[in-house]
């Protein structure tokens, strides 16, 4: 379902060119839960950004669900992100002026889902992340674990094909991290989503179908 072939990515720093990814090839099947691990600066996030269509690449090809998405313009990439890709960020990145419900609802609004359907899906996913009673609260009143559950709900509510999670447990204590990992796995199965997770958390990798290691921009 995700097919990366010979992906290369370089950054310009002053007058010099710094390679971020070199010849990265990766195939991730449907509904898989794949972890990319490696030290900081190894290129994990860059690879996930490319897979999530929020960054481009210089070499190689990327096929998502069979479509060559590397050649798409920004408007088309926006549409694919809107419909098919969910994101879970390390710092949750919830919108502080929106309630929990409104944060989760936001991707459905962008996708033009009807009011009734939005209501139904948001209620369902909030129940699944056990936050129905917090639906009207603002994110800053929630704990870190609760916020990350809201972020997971927001990522999954539109039933995406792919969820990109960049260090989702980095800011959480062990018990909360375990809960979040279990939740992602469970909901990933229920929603039929493929998870691509950047992590250097062993608690996470233990639950993954496939674990790949990045080092110096090269996927081992």
């Amino acid at each position: 379902m995700i097919e990366l072939r010979g992906i290369g990515k370089r950054y310009r720093v002053g007058d010099s060119i710094v390679p971020a990814l070199s010849e990265v090839s990766l195939t991730v099947p449907h509904r898989a839960f794949v972890a990319i691990r490696g030290p900081s600066g190894s290129g994990k996030s860059t690879l996930l950004n490319i897979c999530g269509l929020i960054d481009g690449f210089d070499d190689g090809s990327y096929r998502l669900e069979g479509e060559n998405v590397g050649a798409l313009n920004e408007a088309s990439r926006t549409l694919i992100r809107r419909r098919h890709i969910g994101f879970v960020f390390q710092s949750y990145n919830l919108v502080p002026v929106m309630s929990v419900r409104e944060n989760v609802e936001y991707p459905l609004r962008l996708a033009g889902v009807s009011d009734n359907e939005r209501q139904r899906r948001v209620d369902a996913v909030l129940a699944q992340v056990d936050l129905s009673d917090q639906a009207e609260r603002r994110p800053d009143l929630l704990s870190g674990g609760q916020r990350q559950r809201v972020a997971i709900a927001r990522a999954l509510v539109k039933k995406p094909a792919l969820v990109i999670a960049d260090e989702p447990t980095a800011n959480l204590d062990t018990a909360t991290a375990n809960r979040v990992i279990e939740l992602m796995r469970e909901l990933g199965r229920q929603y039929g989503a493929t998870f691509l997770v950047a992590t250097h958390d062993d608690r996470m990798t233990a639950h993954c179908d496939q674990v790949r290691t990045m080092r110096d921009g090269v996927l081992q």
Partner: protein
């Protein structure tokens, strides 16, 4: 949650900053409305004053306004009664009054002064124009009486110079239409003030018959046409010019250089003021939203990652700008309206304009179209400022935005 509710919440994120911006938008709107309302009141007062002074239209011989006369009333109107009757048949016309412009010497026997006068049917003029002359002493009388010497009204300063008072006898000396000299004894009926000191030093008002006798002519200089509605002036002028090429028809605004120069001056002053205020509002909103955009860069990156298009992001900020502008404009209208009412309740007088002796009340006009247009301009400025502040951030690479600290 509607888009406007979200915009309002975002506006409230930094309440003090938003409040100050909103206040600037409100004060800007109020300033434009108050200044514009004062200008409109002034234009209206001057327009009505000029129309009352000259008549809405002045009808004269075709060459009267363009050529210098070699003798008085060379380009006067003969047999004007028929023209008066024809003009007064139009339902838009309230009254047509003949006038003669006079000049010459006025003497009390010991001292002679130059006078500039108007021969007119004084009582009819007063009936049509209302209290156009301020009577200082004596009475506003018909000058063309038959049971005694003709009577005239003197400008108050001319009367002082001649040591004249109501009942005094004076002599008018002028050039006749044929070019000879003529003199006529008159009696002072009263002294008047136009509130223009320079005019009051030379002014006399005489009856139309008195003026004709002094000039030894049957002609009149011009006809002052008074209309029911000032707004009918351009149309009637066009009609008259089309059907009567023999006469010249001059509207009040071409007669009143004062109105034209004041309007020209005020348009420039208030126009510049409006531009400065608009620029202040624009830069204030731009500054506020630029700070908001900078603070929310990561959030913008998040929303873009979730599938929001740059236009969605810009739209959100534009809604915030429009909210600030809309509330500011609403408050500004309220302030301007309250100021207008307060000025009606408390009579505040403006100092006399240059060259005049009378103060005038400070009033504001509240023209709904002007209010609406001003509000729309403020809204458009705020929307433009928001667009300007957010368009670059919305188009910024998502990864860069997400990494913003």
């Amino acid at each position: 949650m509607s888009a406007l509710v979200l915009a309002w919440r975002n506006v409230l994120r930094n309440r003090r900053r938003s409040f100050v911006t909103l206040l600037i938008a409100a004060l800007g709107t109020a300033s434009i409305l108050v200044a514009g309302g004062f200008a409109q009141y002034t234009y209206d007062s001057l327009r009505e004053g000029a129309a009352r002074e000259f008549g809405h239209l002045t009808v004269a011989h075709a060459d009267y306004f363009d050529k210098d006369e070699e003798s008085p009333l060379q380009y006067g109107l003969e047999g004007h009664e028929a023209l008066v009757a024809e003009l007064e048949r139009d339902r838009r016309v309230r009254r047509v009054l003949p006038r003669i412009e006079l000049s010459g010497l006025i003497s009390n026997g010991d001292k002679s002064m130059i006078f500039m006068g108007i021969g007119a049917d004084i009582m009819a003029e007063a009936a049509v124009r209302g209290p156009f002359l301020k009577l200082v002493a004596g009475e506003l009388a018909d000058g063309d009486r038959t049971d005694g010497p003709p009577r005239v009204l003197l400008g108050v300063e001319l009367a002082e110079s001649l040591n004249a008072r109501p009942g005094s006898s004076l002599t008018l000396i002028g050039t006749t239409a044929a070019g000879g000299m003529n003199a006529m004894d008159v009696e002072v009926a009263g002294t008047i003030s136009t509130n223009w000191p320079d005019v009051d030093k030379r002014l006399i008002y005489a009856g139309i018959g008195t003026a004709r006798r002094l000039l030894a002519t049957d002609k009149v200089g011009m006809l002052a046409v008074f209309l029911q509605e000032t707004g009918d002036t351009p149309a009637l002028r066009a009609e008259l010019e089309a059907r009567d090429p023999v006469h010249a028809f001059k509207p009040w605004w071409e007669q009143s250089a004062y109105y034209v120069s004041v309007r020209d001056l005020y348009d420039r002053i208030f126009g510049l003021l409006g531009v400065i205020i608009a620029a202040l509002v624009f830069f204030s909103v731009t500054n506020t939203l630029t700070m908001a955009v900078a603070e929310r860069t990561r959030e913008i990156g998040t929303l873009r990652a979730l599938g929001a298009a740059p236009a969605d992001i810009v739209g959100e900020f534009v809604r915030e700008g429009v909210l600030i502008g809309g509330i500011g404009a609403g408050l500004g209208m309220l302030v301007a309206g309250s100021t207008m009412v307060a000025l009606l309740m408390f009579d505040i007088q403006m100092p006399p304009p240059p060259g005049r002796a009378d103060a005038y009340p400070l009033r504001l006009y509240a023209d709904p179209v002007f209010y609406l247009l001003t509000s729309l301009v403020i809204l458009a400025l705020c929307a433009a400022a928001a667009w300007l502040a957010s368009r670059k951030a919305a188009a910024r690479p998502i990864v860069e935005a997400l990494g913003h600290v």
